[in-house]
């Protein structure tokens, strides 16, 4: 319990420090606030256009599709704000420049410090905008939901976020081998884009990947399916099983990776 409190407090500290750091540049901060809603509005428009032409996609109506899009965006942007920037920095520059050095000397889990010490607070306005759109969509569709579906959505959404952390930070360990592995995170980002569409529209072979190796189905499709009562019985057990497997792979790969860390010349 003490450990959880300590790490929560540290994550909060990193968050506050990043916010303070961002606020040192006022104009940039204000522009960022305007950028968020504009992005969501544009994406919302594109999606609406696609559904207007197709009617439905993979058995999902326009309102369901919009809900899926927004729940994925919500999960993904939380990921960006909380840990994906740290992963990205590590793979782009961190390892190559030996930035890990100072982190490794701290009495805190190194993987935690790498992923959580660089929260992308610049994306907070975007997160706020998506949250507003999401809440609005849920309000519009409220008659379709039950208490059980909402609770299952909450559980699945949280597990999806953990899976996103585990899969991205497992990919991060490839950096120890590649030194500069920017394309790994680019691949992760691009693949994640597909999570905003119903996984049921993909061919069976790709669906298998979406539920296992690159588990994008759990980033949007599965939680939204729970909310809409469209779930299949094995969704939750497979989500938990995948989480456990990824956790062990992640820990093993990280420890091995650290053994091969060669720093950079000082």
């Amino acid at each position: 319990m003490r450990k959880i409190t300590r790490y929560t407090s540290l994550a909060w500290n990193f968050f506050v420090f990043s916010t303070k750091s961002l606020m040192e540049y006022r104009l940039n901060f204000i522009l960022q606030i305007l950028h968020g809603p504009a992005y969501v509005g544009m994406m919302y428009g594109i999606l609406s256009l696609a559904f207007d032409r197709a009617g439905e996609l993979g058995g999902w109506s326009k309102t369901e599709g919009v809900l899926l899009f927004l729940s994925f965006q919500l999960l993904y942007v939380i990921g960006i704000v909380v840990f994906l920037k740290g992963v990205r920095h590590f793979l782009w520059e961190g390892l190559r420049r030996g930035d890990l050095d100072m982190m490794l000397t701290k009495p805190v889990n190194t993987q935690f410090i790498v992923t959580f010490s660089k929260p992308d607070v610049q994306q907070l306005p975007l997160l706020a905008a998506i949250t507003v759109f999401f809440v609005r969509q849920v309000w519009v569709m409220q008659e379709l939901f039950t208490l059980q579906s909402v609770l299952l959505f909450a559980v699945s959404f949280t597990l999806g976020l953990i899976l996103m952390y585990l899969s991205s930070s497992t990919l991060m360990t490839l950096g120890f081998k590649m030194t500069r592995a920017s394309q790994v995170i680019e691949f992760f980002d691009k693949t994640s884009d597909f999570a905003q569409y119903p996984t049921s529209i993909f061919p069976v072979s790709l669906r298998w990947f979406a539920f296992t190796l690159i588990p994008i189905a759990f980033f949007g499709y599965v939680p939204t399916s729970f909310l809409l009562g469209k779930e299949i019985w094995w969704f939750l057990p497979s989500e938990i099983l995948l989480m456990v497997i990824l956790f062990f792979i992640n820990q093993k790969a990280w420890k091995e990776g650290l053994k091969h860390y060669s720093s950079a010349s000082s």
């Binding site: 420090f17 303070k20 040192e24 050095d101 009495p107 091969h260 720093s263």
Partner: protein, 339 residues
């Protein structure tokens, strides 16, 4: 393990380094054919350091100093060998160990670039779980010793190199570490700032009985802070002992600085030793001679007898020159002088 604060036995750290051929063709070829070379950054080094000792780690660029410090800090896994710091295996990276040491690298910083240094101090307080009262007391003391109270709330990117280095030291010492690894802490600083940092390190060692390993290319740092020096070259330890021993062992010559009351010529001076400097400006005649250290007293006597000497000093050569001598002497490089 022994009662030593730091114990290193047969430490080896080898790297595979890729050798790229120059030019665009070299880059294209390297896509499928790369030649790797094993670099022995640290090659079979052993030493022990007692609690409270300040040891100078001396070596040329690429000698393996920083790599050794990185292994001692748990940043790098060694290829072979045993290391113990305060009884811990560094690469187990136990929090209890990490709270007892600090690594300061002159060319890397831990301060948040866009925020004032005070913010990083507060973050380190949380990371190292320093209680409020201890934090305040330690911070006040360090800020006073280093005289940085006026820059604590200025963005780090706006600080001078010296001010930043002082703040780096404070950030590294807020948790009162028992072991300090200082990797070129005075690099790029002016002489006054170097002196300030040296005095501070000396004071810290005295007050906390901290064990310190210091690497520096400035011999003044080593002379002023360290009684003991370890010299490494291309990954090998070539000397480990008191600084004075380096002088006794490697300084072949002593320096005789002479002021003459009457004109003398270079020819007059040649029989006494190697003329390093000779000036004659019409009214003053001075010379600096290098003489074999075993004959220095005898030569000085002869000079006094045979030439119009007004003043004469016998000095040890600068430590920098002696270190150059160590690196150029083949027996040293072969490791026969190591303890």
């Amino acid at each position: 393990m022994s009662s030593s604060a730091i114990s290193v036995k047969n430490l080896k750290k080898y790297y595979e380094v890729y050798q790229k051929q120059p030019g665009l063709m070299g880059s294209i070829t390297s896509l499928w054919n790369r030649k790797y070379e094993t670099v022995k950054a640290v090659d079979d080094i052993s030493f022990e350091i007692e609690p409270g000792e300040v040891v100078g780690f001396i070596g040329q660029n690429g000698a393996g100093k920083t790599t050794t410090l990185k292994v001692l800090s748990g940043l790098l896994y060694p290829t072979a060998g045993e290391v113990s710091v305060l009884g811990y295996n560094p690469w187990d990276r136990q929090a209890a160990f990490q709270k007892q040491f600090s690594l300061v690298m002159g060319q890397k910083n831990q301060l948040w670039w866009d925020l004032p240094a005070m913010e990083t101090f507060l973050l380190n307080k949380a990371i190292y779980e320093v209680p409020d009262s201890v934090f305040k007391k330690t911070l006040d003391k360090l800020v006073n010793l280093l005289d940085v109270s006026e820059v604590l709330n200025v963005q780090v990117r706006k600080l001078s190199l010296g001010q930043r280095m002082k703040c780096e030291l404070i950030a590294a010492l807020l948790h009162n570490p028992q072991v300090l690894f200082l990797d070129e802490p005075t690099i790029g600083l002016d002489v006054i700032m170097q002196k300030t940092l040296r005095d501070f390190i000396k004071q810290y060692n005295k007050e906390f009985n901290a064990t310190i390993i210091l690497t520096s290319h400035y011999m003044d740092d080593v002379k002023e802070l360290c009684k003991r020096a370890i010299i490494i070259d291309t990954g090998h330890k070539i000397f480990d002992g008191a600084l004075q021993d380096i002088i006794d062992r490697y300084a072949r010559n002593k320096i005789l600085s002479v002021v003459f009351s009457k004109p003398v010529t270079k020819t007059d001076l040649k029989p006494f030793g190697i003329i390093k400097e000779f000036t004659e400006d019409g009214s003053a005649y001075t010379a600096t001679l290098l003489v074999d250290r075993t004959d220095a007293t005898k030569v000085a006597g002869n000079l006094l007898k045979k030439l119009p000497v007004q003043d004469l000093n016998i000095e040890e050569p600068p430590i920098e020159a002696i270190i150059r001598e160590v690196f150029s002497s083949s027996d040293g490089v072969n490791g026969s002088k190591a303890k």
